[in-house]
Amino acid sequence: MMKRVIFLVDMQSFYASVEKAENPKLKNKPVIVSGDPERRSGIILAACPLAKKSGVKTAEALWQAQTKCPEAIVVRPRMQRYIDISCQITTILEQYTDLVEVFSIDEQFLDLTGSLKLFGDPFTIAKKIQQEIIEETGVYARVGIAPNKTLAKIACDAFAKKNQNGIFKLDESNMKETMWELPIGKMFGVGSRMKDHLQRMGIQKIGQLATFSIDTLTKRWGINGQVLWQIANGIDYAPVTTKTHDKQKAVGHHMTLPRDYKTFDEIKVILLELSEEVARRARTGGYRGNTVSVGIRGADFNFPTGFHRQVKLTSPTNFDMDIFHAALHLFRIHWNRLPVRSAGVTLSELQPADPYQLSLFDFSLKKEHLNEAMDYIYTKYGPTAIVRASSLTSAGQAYSRAEKIGGHYK
């Protein structure tokens, strides 16, 4: 097989960088992007390098960050803006190759194997990409270069981010003195649990895993053992694909509540709102789902309670009330009556909405016409053009959620 050239392009402190680039007043000041502390989304979503120098960490509470770095400027997130910039960056990257895989909002994989003749050697291309991104969006990008995706990811996370020029090339030639020396926890695919297991087997560094007996690993973890061993040895056959997000497996919505909900009636309101959102999105995507699951988290951090349960439906659906009834049923059975901090509803086992096997006992045609009409109104006048009366009670979140993406302001 031909040796591939894979890039992982990662944006430094993405949200914070976008804010700084668009507001000159923030230049040379520590900037923190954080949700609204009163609505409990007050965690650090991103911190610029200046803020990080004072010890601010992503995902910690806002008050913690502010004690470490009192002079930091706190900016409210603008999720839609970040999504737009991320798409803009994808467009830039697509000038170099058609194989761009969006891995997350601030990370994208590129397969440049076929483009080298056009644009030069990998380092030249990486520099060009960096420059173009910073000129067009003001965001500093780091690039990991490797023959496959996992190595590119490690190259970027472990080395390029610490480099002067933000570019690092990792392959078989330098793997032993670089990647193999890294602690095992830094390897892609090794989480905290796996780290503990491996350390107990005496594996501290990636290099030790690479030279470990593959038979022992497969005996213990099956195919995953072999995959880990391959990653440690720099082997990964996964192609860069633009189709990652083509096949959806589930539609789910989750919300952290502005205050703890204590009564059944209050929680019912948000389960209905979540079910509606899920149903609407399933319809937009042209899906029906066969399984509904509900996740609930208790309010008390010290005594974590909650559950995640699922139920199979009689026939696949994308109607809000079908999903709601199943969700409510699960909630009624499994809720322990303790206050609730967050709730989520997911529709899974998705299949295309058409063709659809009609059913004797449910008059889906009527429901379908109703939903079609509602979808039409939503598209034209926005998600709060019609809401259920229950969303007007104090428990309702429909209006506040309409202003947000992923629980943060647009």
């Binding site: 026939s315 009609l358 006992f361």
Partner: protein, 378 residues
């Protein structure tokens, strides 16, 4: 307990009783088979608490001796081993003996097995039916009733009542109905001398499937007793008890369309084979969809299209097409099941448009009804 028994007789009975025995059961002793020896004959019992089966082997029947040297008693044997042992024994007769320590000896020719038995006193008593009222129908008729309906029960536990077949006996008419909500199968037969009536009982589909396997294809009468939570089927030597499903069976009669817009008369076999061929390419798709289009009042075009596999089209001549033109899609599997249940050479299919259920009946009568909900395609 001791007796000597004809091996073939024993094998047949053991096989019947095994249908009720499951290796996964809440009561451990139910993984065993109970053997009871009386001077007049041997009774084998198996149960998984949903279904209980008793098979009786008389000591003597029509002058033929099946069991000899009977010393009365009873024992429970591990059903995991007993059937295979009996099947593989070398001689035509088998001697079974249990001592007071629950040790069981099985002898045939020079082969001897020693098994550990369990105390029959521990075996739960089968519930006795509290009713004397019953009705009788020929065994082979019961088998066709089951075969023509039970395939349509739901296999999903999401609506447990639909996993059963609905039985109704009213005005001397017995009706079997089964539906999984996408298709429905029903058959009605007259029972002239029934002295009972019941508006609705639901028998688990699994029970009827097992019953169908055990019953012989004879015209001998099968006696049926119904209480509010159990149903009993009884032949001369067989006692088959099943629990009934709890809950209300949906009212299905009003779901059956009374008028039709397009009526097709076709040869059952030809249509079945055409659909079967079209279904070969439909299997990849989720709903096994085939499409039927009427053509010129005498032809049907059956097609199926799986974008990733390919396409099939076939034209079939039919006896007649009356009424509106029609384009309809449906599951080939449901259609095949329905056509197989029609005993007549000719079928009558009544449609009421592409989005409404359609009905398949034998051309000569109304007693069998198969209903299928179409698949909506755009």
């Amino acid at each position: 307990m001791k007796f000597i028994i004809q091996r073939d007789q024993l094998i047949a009975s053991v096989q019947d009783v095994m249908k009720a025995i499951s290796s996964r059961t809440a009561i451990p002793i139910l993984t065993g088979m109970k053997i009871e020896a009386k001077q007049h004959g041997i009774t084998l019992t198996g149960s998984d608490s949903d279904i209980s089966i008793e098979s009786y082997i008389p000591a003597e029947e029509d002058g033929i001796v099946h069991v000899e040297n009977i010393e009365e008693g009873n024992i429970v044997l591990q059903a995991k081993y007993f059937p295979d042992i009996v099947r593989k024994l070398p001689e035509k007769t088998v001697e079974i003996e249990a001592d007071s320590n629950l040790k069981v000896t099985i002898r045939s020719g020079k082969a001897e097995f020693n098994l550990n038995g369990q105390d029959a006193e521990e075996y739960p008593h089968l519930p006795k039916l509290q009713t004397e009222s019953s009705f009788k129908i020929p065994t082979d008729l019961m088998k066709s009733l089951i075969k023509q309906t039970v395939f349509a029960v739901s296999t999903m536990e999401t609506r447990p009542i639909l996993t059963g077949v609905h039985l109704k006996l009213e005005n001397n008419n017995l009706t079997f109905t089964a539906t999984d909500s996408h298709r429905l199968a029903s058959r009605e037969i007259p029972v002239p001398d029934a002295n009972i009536e019941f508006p609705s009982v639901v028998v688990p589909g699994k029970s009827l499937n097992e019953l169908n396997k055990i019953l012989d294809d004879t015209e001998e009468l099968l006696e049926i007793n119904v209480t509010n939570n159990q149903i009993l089927f009884r032949t001369k030597h067989l006692y088959f008890l099943s629990r009934l499903l709890d809950g209300n069976y949906p009212e299905t009669s009003r779901l059956i369309p009374e008028q039709s817009k397009t009526v097709i008369h076709a040869n059952t076999k030809e249509l079945l084979h055409t659909i079967d061929r079209a279904s070969l390419l439909a299997k990849e798709e989720r709903n096994n969809v085939v499409k039927l289009v009427t053509n010129d009042n005498q032809f049907l075009e059956i097609t199926s299209n799986s974008p990733e596999v390919g396409r099939v089209a076939e034209e079939i001549a039919v006896q007649s097409i009356e009424g509106e033109e029609l384009k309809i899609s449906f599951s080939s599997k449901y259609m095949l099941d329905a056509l197989k249940a029609i005993e007549n050479d000719e079928v009558k299919i009544e449609f009421t448009g592409a989005m409404r259920p359609f009905i398949i009946r034998p051309a000569d009568g109304e007693s069998i009804l198969q209903l299928i909900l179409p698949v909506r395609t755009y």
